[in-house]
C-alpha cells in the first residue's frame, strides 16, 4: 500500500467569486435501461453563462449519455430518464414532449459531435445545411439567409467562407468541418453549447484552434458550454469547472484549478497521473500511481455494484468502501468529492 | 453444418417455406402414384368447378382435363427444370467466375465482358429467342434459363475469388507448391459456397418463373403439361371459369414464395457464419 502522504497544505481558499447566472441545472439525473440497470446515477451540475464545464471520464462512464439527455436525444428505447430534473428556461426538460424538444433544440441548446465528417449530410453543400438551420431558427430566407450563413462562418473563423459554403463536406478538412458544425449550432443563438468530444478526431494543432473559437463564442455571446472530453490537457486549458465521472456517477466536481491541481478522489489522481505531460504535479510527490498502472477496468454495464464503484481498483479501499456508495461531500468551497477516504487524509 | 441448420430453423418464415417446398416436391414425385396416367387425357366432364365432383377435386378444364393431375405433373416440370437450370448455371458461373477472378488479365476482361453482355440483353427476351430458335424442348428451356442466369453467379464468384486470392492461407498454400487447380478447388471455392448457395436458390425461383412465362406464351415443352400452359389454356375461359387460370397461378406463387423464403433464411443463416469464417 503506497504511503499516502499527509494532505497537502490546504490550498488557499479562493476568494469567493460572484458566479454568473445559472442557465441550466441538472438535479440528480438518473438514466437507465428501462427501469433497470442505471447507466447514469444521480448526476447534478450547473451550467453558467459564459463558463465551460468539462465532463471528464473514460468511455463508458456515462458522460455522452448525460449530454444526449440534455437534448432529448437518448436512444430511447432502451435508455430513458428514470428520475431527476433538468431545469432550463423555467421548464423541466426531463418531462418534455417531442414538440417541446424541437423548440429547444438549436434555439436554446445546441450540440456538436465527435466525428465531423459523418455528422454532416454528404449530399448537401455545407452552405445549404447551415442555411437550413438559419431558416429554421430565424425565419430568414433567400439572400438575407445566405448573408447570415456567411456571417456564421466568419464567426467560427472559416477561411474563404463564400467559396466554402458551396462545398460538400468531404472536400473540407476535419477542422473546417467541425467549424461548420459549430456555425450550424450557433444559427439559433442558443444559450448552451454541448460539445461531445469535438476534437478527438482532429489533429493536435487543430484541437486548440477549435476550442479557442469556442472560447471566443463564450466571451462574445455568454454561451454556456458543456464539454465532454477525456483529454485532460484540453480541459486544463479551457475549463472553468470540471466534473469527473466514473461508472455513471460524478466522483469529483468543482473549480477546474482546484480539481486538477489538488485532485482528491483516487480515480482523479490516477487519471491525472496518466497525463502525458509527465505528471510533474503534486501527484508524483504523493507517490500515487497512474491509473493505467493500477490496472483493472471500469465496471461494465452489467456489473452489479455495492459500495464504491471504484473500490475494486482503489489502492486505498477499505471494507467500509465496499459496503456503501459514497456521496459527494464538500471538501472545500467549490470542490466536492465522493470518497470516504479523503477525509482520512485531512 | 448442424450450426447452420439450427440458425436456419430459428427463422420461422424460412421454415414455412421449406415445408411448403417439401410438400410440392412430394406431390411432384408422387404424381404418378396419386394420379397415374396422362395429364393431357380428357377424362372428366369439361368445365367442372372445384368441389363439384369429388373425383376431380380441383375441377376440370375446357376440354375435360383433370386439373389436379395437371397440377401434380406441372409440379414435376417446374421443379425439374428449375433445379437443373439452377445447378447448371451455378456450375458454369462458378467455373467462369473463379477462373476470371483467379487469373485476371485478359481472361478476366473477356469473360466479364461476355457476362455483362448476357446481362444487358433482357433476360426473358433472350430466353424467348433461344427457345424459339432451337425449338422448344426441356433442354432448350433449361439452356435459355442458364444463359440468363450464369452471369450473376459468375460475378459473385469472381468477386469472392478476388478477395480470397490475396488471403494469407492461399499464399501459404502457394508457397509450398500447391497447384492452381487444387488451390481453387480446395481453398477458394469452399469459402465462396455460402453466397453461391443463396444465389442458386434464388435462381431456382426465377427459373420456375421463366419456364412458366415461356409455357404461357406457348414456348413450353409441347409434350409436357406445365403450370404456365394450364394458365394459357384457362385464359380462354377467364370470364366464366376463372379457376382454371387462378389455381395453377397460385401453385406457382406458393412454390416461388417458398423458395424465396428458403433463400432468405439461408442468407440470414449463412451470413454470420460467413463473417466468422472469413476472419
Amino acid at each position: 500500500m503506497p504511503v499516502l502522504a499527509a494532505a497537502a497544505p490546504l490550498y488557499r481558499e479562493p476568494a469567493p467569486a460572484v458566479l454568473p447566472e445559472a442557465v441550466l441545472t441538472v438535479e440528480d439525473l438518473t438514466l437507465g435501461l428501462g427501469s433497470g440497470r442505471k447507466l447514469v446515477d444521480t448526476v447534478s451540475f450547473t451550467l453558467r453563462r459564459g463558463r465551460l464545464l468539462a465532463l471528464v471520464g473514460e468511455s463508458g462512464s456515462g458522460k455522452s449519455l448525460t449530454a444526449l439527455s440534455l437534448l432529448g436525444l437518448l436512444p430511447d428505447p432502451p435508455v430513458r430518464i428514470q428520475s431527476g430534473a433538468i431545469r432550463f428556461a423555467g421548464q423541466d426538460l426531463a418531462t418534455l414532449d417531442p414538440a417541446g424538444w424541437r423548440r429547444i433544440r438549436g434555439a436554446g441548446i445546441a450540440m456538436i459531435f465527435q466525428e465531423p465528417l459523418s455528422a454532416l449530410n454528404p449530399v448537401m453543400t455545407i452552405g445549404r445545411q447551415i442555411g437550413e438551420a438559419v431558416r429554421l431558427h430565424t425565419g430568414l430566407t433567400g439572400r438575407p439567409a445566405e448573408k447570415r450563413v456567411l456571417e456564421l462562418l466568419d464567426l467560427v473563423r472559416m477561411p474563404d467562407a463564400a467559396r466554402r459554403a458551396r462545398d460538400y463536406p468531404h472536400r473540407l478538412s476535419g477542422g473546417m468541418r467541425q467549424r461548420v458544425l459549430i456555425a450550424m449550432a450557433m444559427a439559433g443563438r442558443p444559450k448552451i453549447l454541448i460539445a461531445d468530444e469535438p476534437t478527438t478526431a482532429l489533429d493536435v494543432t487543430v484541437q486548440a484552434d477549435i476550442l479557442d473559437t469556442i472560447a471566443d463564442l463564450r466571451a462574445e455571446f455568454g454561451l454556456a458550454v458543456l464539454l465532454i472530453s477525456h483529454d485532460l490537457g484540453l480541459v486544463a486549458d479551457h475549463a472553468d469547472e470540471v466534473a469527473v465521472m466514473y461508472a455513471g456517477r460524478i466522483v469529483e466536481q468543482g473549480r477546474s484549478d482546484m480539481v486538477l491541481d489538488w485532485p482528491a478522489h483516487p480515480y482523479t489522481r490516477g487519471l491525472l497521473g496518466a497525463r502525458p505531460t509527465g505528471g510533474q504535479g503534486p501527484l508524483r510527490q504523493r507517490g500515487w500511481p497512474r491509473l493505467a498502472e493500477i490496472g483493472g477496468q471500469a465496471p461494465g454495464a452489467d456489473a452489479v455494484l455495492s459500495g464504491c464503484s471504484f473500490a475494486p481498483r482503489c489502492l486505498a479501499a477499505t471494507a467500509a468502501c465496499r459496503s456503501a456508495q459514497p456521496d459527494l461531500r464538500e471538501l472545500a468551497r467549490g470542490h466536492r468529492v465522493a470518497c470516504i477516504r479523503v477525509g482520512a487524509f485531512e | 453444418m448442424s450450426a447452420l441448420w439450427r440458425q436456419f430453423r430459428r427463422n420461422r418464415p424460412a421454415l414455412a417455406g421449406l415445408t411448403i417446398l417439401a410438400l410440392v416436391v412430394a406431390l411432384g414425385v408422387g404424381a404418378p402414384l396419386i394420379r397415374p396416367g396422362d395429364p393431357w387425357a380428357e377424362i372428366a366432364q369439361p368445365d367442372l368447378w372445384p368441389g363439384e365432383d369429388w373425383r376431380f377435386p380441383f375441377g376440370s378444364d375446357v376440354l375435360g382435363r383433370d386439373l389436379l393431375s395437371g397440377l401434380l405433373h406441372g409440379a414435376r416440370v417446374s421443379l425439374v427444370i428449375g433445379f437443373s437450370a439452377a445447378l447448371v448455371a451455378g456450375s458454369l458461373g462458378t467455373l467462369t467466375g473463379s477462373l476470371a477472378g483467379f487469373y485476371g488479365g485478359w481472361l478476366d476482361d473477356a469473360l466479364m465482358r461476355l457476362a455483362e453482355s448476357f446481362q444487358t440483353i433482357p433476360a426473358f427476351l433472350m430466353a424467348i429467342v433461344i427457345v424459339a430458335l432451337f425449338s422448344p424442348s426441356p433442354l432448350t428451356i433449361v439452356l435459355s434459363i442458364v444463359a440468363v442466369s450464369w452471369p450473376g453467379v459468375a460475378r459473385l464468384v469472381r468477386a469472392e475469388t478476388l478477395r480470397l486470392r490475396a488471403a494469407d492461407f492461399v499464399l501459404a498454400c502457394r508457397s509450398f507448391g500447391m497447384g492452381d487447380a487444387r488451390i481453387i478447388l480446395t481453398q477458394i471455392l469452399p469459402n465462396c459456397l455460402a453466397p453461391v448457395i443463396v444465389t442458386i436458390s434464388v435462381m431456382v425461383a426465377s427459373g420456375i418463373l421463366i419456364e412458366a412465362g415461356l409455357s404461357f406464351l406457348g414456348l413450353g415443352d409441347p409434350s409436357q403439361l406445365s403450370w404456365g400452359t394450364m394458365i394459357a389454356i384457362g385464359r380462354g375461359s377467364l370470364r366464366s371459369a376463372w379457376y382454371m387460370s387462378a389455381i395453377p397461378g397460385l401453385a406457382i406463387l406458393l412454390t416461388v414464395m417458398a423458395i424465396n423464403l428458403i433463400g432468405d433464411g439461408l442468407n440470414d443463416a449463412l451470413n454470420p457464419y460467413l463473417r466468422d469464417r472469413s476472419k
Binding site: 417531442p98 433544440r105 438549436g106 | 418463373l209 385464359r235
Partner: protein
C-alpha cells in the same frame, strides 16, 4: 494546373465520360457478337423458312436465295457484313411485315415506352411511400405487412397477375377495359382520348409495376434503415428539424441513391416483362411485336428486336451511371 496541362488533358468529367463510353462500345460489340452467334447456331436459316413457306423446295431456287442474302459466304464475312449493316442502322428486314425491322420497332416503341415509363413511375412512387413507412415503423405490424406483400408480389408470375387483374377489374367489376391501348374507332380526341388511353393503361402498368415495386420497396427499406443509423441524422435532429424533414429530406436524399442504380439495372427485366404484359393485354408495343415474331417465325425481326433492346439497355445504363455520378457529390470522377 499549368496552361500546358490544360491543353493536353481533358477535364476529369470528360475523361470519365470517355471511359464509360468506351466500355459501352465494347459491350455493344459483345452483344452483337452474341446475337450473331445465336442466329447462326439455330438449325435452319431464314432461307429454309422462306422456301418452306413458298412451297418451292427447288434446290436451285434455294441456292439463289442464299446467294442473294449473302448466306453462302463464310461466317467471318457475314459477321463483317452484319456489323456493317448495323453501322448503317440497318437492323434487317422483316419479310412478314414487308418493312425494315427498324421501322417496325419505331412504330411500336412509343407504346412500350409509355407502358414502361408509367410502370416505372408507379413502382418508384409506391416503393418510396412503402419503404419509408416500413423503415419508420420498423418491426411493427405495418412493417411486417409491407414485407409480406412485397414477398408475395415478388413471387407472383407477371402474366398471372395480369389475368387476375383483368378478371377482377374488367370482367367482374367492369371498371376498366380488358385490353388494347385505345378504344378503336371511337373517334375520341383531346382530353377524352387521353382519358381513354389512361383507362387502358392502368391495368397493364400496374401489372408490370408490381414485381419491381416489391423489389424497390425492399431495397429502399434497407437503404433507409442504413441511412437513419448515420450520424448526420442525429445532427439534423439536434438542429431542431421536424422529423418529417429529417426523414423526407436528409434520409431519403441519401437513401434514393442505390435505388437509382437499381432502376437502371432493372430496365432489361422490365423490357422482358413487357413481352408478357403486352401479350396479356394486347398492348401494341415492342414486346407484343417480339412475341408475334416468334409465332410467325420471323427470325430477322425477333433478333433485330433483341439487339435493339440490348443496345437500349446499354445506353440507359450509361445514362444512369452519369446521373448517379452527378447526384452523388462524393464521386470524384477523376
Amino acid at each position: 494546373m499549368s496552361a500546358i496541362a490544360i491543353g493536353f488533358r481533358l477535364p476529369p468529367y470528360a475523361r470519365f465520360l470517355a471511359r464509360r463510353i468506351g466500355q459501352s462500345l465494347a459491350l455493344v460489340f459483345c452483344t452483337v457478337l452474341i446475337t450473331f452467334t445465336v442466329i447462326n447456331l439455330a438449325p435452319g436459316d431464314m432461307v429454309d423458312v422462306m422456301a418452306g413457306e413458298a412451297g418451292a423446295a427447288d434446290a436451285g431456287y434455294i441456292a439463289l436465295l442464299r446467294q442473294r442474302y449473302g448466306l453462302d459466304q463464310p461466317v467471318p464475312v457475314r459477321l463483317l457484313h452484319y456489323v456493317e449493316q448495323l453501322g448503317h442502322f440497318d437492323f434487317g428486314y422483316s419479310f412478314r411485315h414487308n418493312k425494315p425491322v427498324l421501322q417496325l420497332i419505331g412504330e411500336r416503341l412509343g407504346a412500350t415506352a409509355l407502358l414502361m415509363g408509367s410502370s416505372t413511375i408507379l413502382a418508384i412512387t409506391g416503393a418510396v411511400l412503402l419503404g419509408i413507412m416500413a423503415a419508420r415503423r420498423l418491426n411493427t405490424a405495418t412493417d411486417g405487412i409491407i414485407s409480406v406483400l412485397a414477398l408475395l408480389a415478388y413471387a407472383t408470375p407477371v402474366f398471372w397477375v395480369g389475368l387476375m387483374l383483368i378478371l377482377v377489374f374488367s370482367v367482374k367489376l367492369r371498371w376498366l377495359p380488358s385490353g388494347g391501348m385505345e378504344t378503336l374507332f371511337s373517334g375520341l380526341t383531346g382530353p377524352a382520348r387521353f382519358g381513354d388511353l389512361a383507362a387502358h393503361l392502368v391495368l397493364p402498368a400496374i401489372t408490370l409495376a408490381l414485381f419491381h415495386l416489391a423489389l424497390y420497396t425492399r431495397l429502399l427499406r434497407a437503404s433507409m434503415l442504413e441511412v437513419l443509423r448515420q450520424d448526420f441524422i442525429r445532427t439534423a435532429r439536434a438542429k431542431g428539424l421536424p422529423e418529417r424533414i429529417v426523414v423526407g429530406r436528409h434520409a431519403l436524399g441519401n437513401a434514393l441513391l442505390p435505388l437509382v442504380t437499381m432502376v437502371g439495372m432493372q430496365l432489361g427485366a422490365a423490357l422482358g416483362g413487357s413481352v408478357v404484359v403486352e401479350s396479356v393485354f394486347a398492348w401494341p408495343g415492342l414486346g407484343r411485336l417480339a412475341f408475334d415474331a416468334v409465332g410467325e417465325r420471323d427470325l430477322n425481326l425477333l433478333v433485330g428486336i433483341v439487339l435493339f433492346s440490348g443496345l437500349l439497355v446499354i445506353t440507359v445504363n450509361l445514362l444512369v451511371d452519369l446521373l448517379y455520378s452527378w447526384l452523388d457529390p462524393r464521386i470524384e470522377t477523376q
